[in-house]
């Protein structure tokens, strides 16, 4: 039964708002009168804003899903739909399990009440029963680390204490599905570590977590899946590292094109970010790149490597029609879309004579020399008639903490100077020597 395996199923979910709720045009006597004078019918449809244009998303039970996207792309609207605060304009939405949403910390907190009293109210508002809150009271107080302040009125708290208390209550609700909107970064270093540990606890207990955040590294580290909302649609769902890499790339591409960063919901056509050239793009040139793969020295597929390792990029392509002027490009990009290295067959004067109908392009790197981080490789075939490209993401894990862009091949030597009178003679060959690699 597939239904019982999925915690959240969204099918073609559309959500529109009346414009006044976004632009603050409230219904007043004046506005009603004006609208009536202008003819009531005309503006009804025009004043609709579609935040979500058709969302299809399935969240399997027990998975942690990170939702990313620009400001105003509809992430919070999506969460409110899942939570049930909003109802979809059209489409189908199914939830299996008790849901708890942490959309806002401290809902219903009263400044004049003590921390203890507010725990009770806030806990009940978040869906616990009175007995459940009472049973967890000590645990919550301990987690909040407020100590004696717990019996002081909340208005005397610092904002950090307030957030800690609110977060403590929120995480002690015991749901099947947890919805979190951008609140993991609460408090100081110590407390946010504790919060993350709490999240891990939820994960281990097999709870489904849906998380909205702008912190892409959180998504990469904690989530099993990432969903990227753009222009009212789910642009991509998949492995967090791949989705975030493409997202970063699209952002930097948009910045490079100096696209106006207006709220997507207010933009004609949804205001999606520019398309990153990718395998999903229809190719128009004579040479089509079908698949880009990363292989290690033994010819096995590769996703993680160390800086000293070599790799081989393998791109399957097919050729249709004449293609005398084809030029293969290989580009290495950092996670933020910066080009670290780019070269092409033409630049290196590689002769491409007699192209086969089907073929494999191999780009062999003896030693990558990149530092730890996320990268992607883009292979493109350019011809005067068009371009086709494919990409793949990978990660470099380094045991050494270095800084910069690349790691030149190197070793360390310490030797006595020519006029050294030092008492400790250095024997050639026994000089202290450190090799990194």
């Amino acid at each position: 039964m597939p239904e019982s395996m999925d915690a959240i199923i969204l099918k073609d979910v559309v959500k529109s708002f009346r414009k006044r709720t976004i632009r603050g045009e409230y219904t007043t006597f004046k506005s009603e009168l004006l609208r009536w004078l202008r003819g009531k019918r005309q503006s009804r449809d025009a004043s609709l804003i579609t935040a979500l244009r058709g969302i299809n998303l399935t969240v399997p039970m027990g998975k942690t899903v990170g939702i990313i996207g620009r400001n105003g792309s509809g992430k919070s609207t999506l969460l409110k739909l899942i939570t049930g605060i909003y109802t979809p304009t059209s489409g189908d939405l199914r939830i299996n399990g008790r849901i708890s949403a942490l959309l806002d910390l401290g809902a219903g907190f009263h400044p004049d009440f003590s921390g203890r009293e507010n725990i009770l109210i806030n806990g009940i508002i978040l869906g616990m029963t009175r007995a459940e809150v009472r049973a967890r009271m000590d645990e919550i107080i301990a987690f909040s680390e407020l100590g004696e302040f717990i019996d002081e009125p909340v208005r005397t708290y610092s904002s950090g204490m307030y957030m800690r208390l609110a977060f403590a209550v929120a995480t002690h609700v015991d749901p099947d599905i947890l919805i979190i909107d951008e609140i993991l970064a609460v408090g100081d270093e110590h407390f946010s570590k504790k919060s993350l540990a709490k999240m891990m606890d939820f994960k281990r207990q097999g709870k489904t977590i849906v998380l909205v955040t702008h912190d892409l590294s959180t998504v990469e580290r904690w989530c099993d899946l990432a969903a990227w909302i753009d222009g009212g649609y789910i642009r991509r769902v998949g492995k967090p590292s791949e989705v975030t890499a493409e997202y970063r790339e699209a952002i930097s591409l948009a910045e490079a094109q100096s696209a106006a960063f207006t709220p997507p919901a207010l933009t004609e056509g949804g205001g999606a970010l520019p398309q990153v050239p990718s395998e999903s793009l229809p190719a128009e040139g004579p040479v089509r790149i079908h698949r880009v793969q990363l292989l290690d020295a033994r010819g096995e597929s590769l996703e993680v490597l160390s800086p000293e390792e070599g790799l081989e990029v393998r791109a399957d392509f097919s050729v249709e029609g004449p293609c005398e002027d084809v030029d293969f490009h290989v580009r290495l990009q950092a996670a933020d879309g910066r080009t670290l290295y780019e070269t092409s067959t033409r630049r290196e004067a590689v002769v491409l004579s007699r192209m086969p109908n089907q073929g494999v392009l191999r780009f062999v790197v003896e030693r990558l020399g990149a530092l730890g981080g996320d990268y992607s490789l883009v292979v493109s075939a350019r011809a005067s008639k068009g371009e086709s490209s494919g990409r793949c993401a990978f990660r470099v894990v380094s045991a050494t903490e270095e800084e910069g862009v690349f790691r030149p091949p190197h070793r360390w030597l310490v030797e006595p100077g020519a006029d050294s009178q030092a008492g400790v003679p250095f024997e050639p060959g026994t000089s202290p020597r450190v090799e990194v690699g």
Binding site: F17, R18, T21, Y26, T27, F29, K80, T83, G84, I85, Y86, T87, I99, A101, L103, D104, A107, G108, H110, D112, F113, E117, L120, I121, I124, I125, L126, T129, R130
Partner: protein, 260 residues
Amino acid sequence: MIRLVRELYQYRGLLISLVQRELKARYRGSFLGFLWTFLNPTLHMLVYVLLFTVVMRQNIPNFPFFMFVGLLPWIWFSTSVGGGASAISDRRDLLTKVRFPAQVLPTSVVVTNLCNFVLSLPLMLVLGMAYGQWPTWHVVLFPVVVLIQLTFTLALTYILAAINVTFRDLQHIVSNLLTLWFFATPVLYPLSTIQDESARSLMLALNPMVSLMTSYQAIFYEHRLPDAGPLMTLAAVSVVLLWGASSIFESRREEFAESI
């Protein structure tokens, strides 16, 4: 309506804690604290007593007690309706962040004020005893009258709260209409002071609060059973009104989170 009530029952924990919160919060931080529950209606009454026994003399025996009998349920009604109108539009913080049935909010306003009303009843009884008016067996009907008033108040509050989300002027209109309504209801004067028979029956027909107030006065002040006819009519009207109010409320509640 059944769904509305069932959800209220499911979320009774939330309702109770919201009511508790309001009751506790109202006088939190003030020096006299909970005593204000009694002081407020007393001072309110004293103002009218001053007005009607010194400035405009009325020939009603035990006037302060008479007035108190009607004033307390009126305060319950008017604070509920006045506060209930903005119950949803003022709680943006909750409605857009947490999922719960929206009817909990206006209901909590009405129930909070009901609690205040019930808490100030001993004061009324003590005042009556001071005038030698001990409660008689007629008080068994008191809960019935309270229940009818509760139904009527809830219905009115649901309608106002639902409409006020999109039409914010309503809360101001309501607070002004309540003043007019107060003087059109026999709280400060007995219904019998209106000489004209037809005017009296017209008032009784148009103003549901008239039969409620006269019922309270009958039970506590006149020590007799309230008139069954108008009271039963009002009970039936209130149930129908509540049914209508809950369908208005349910048809609009999906918009609440977006509109406020």
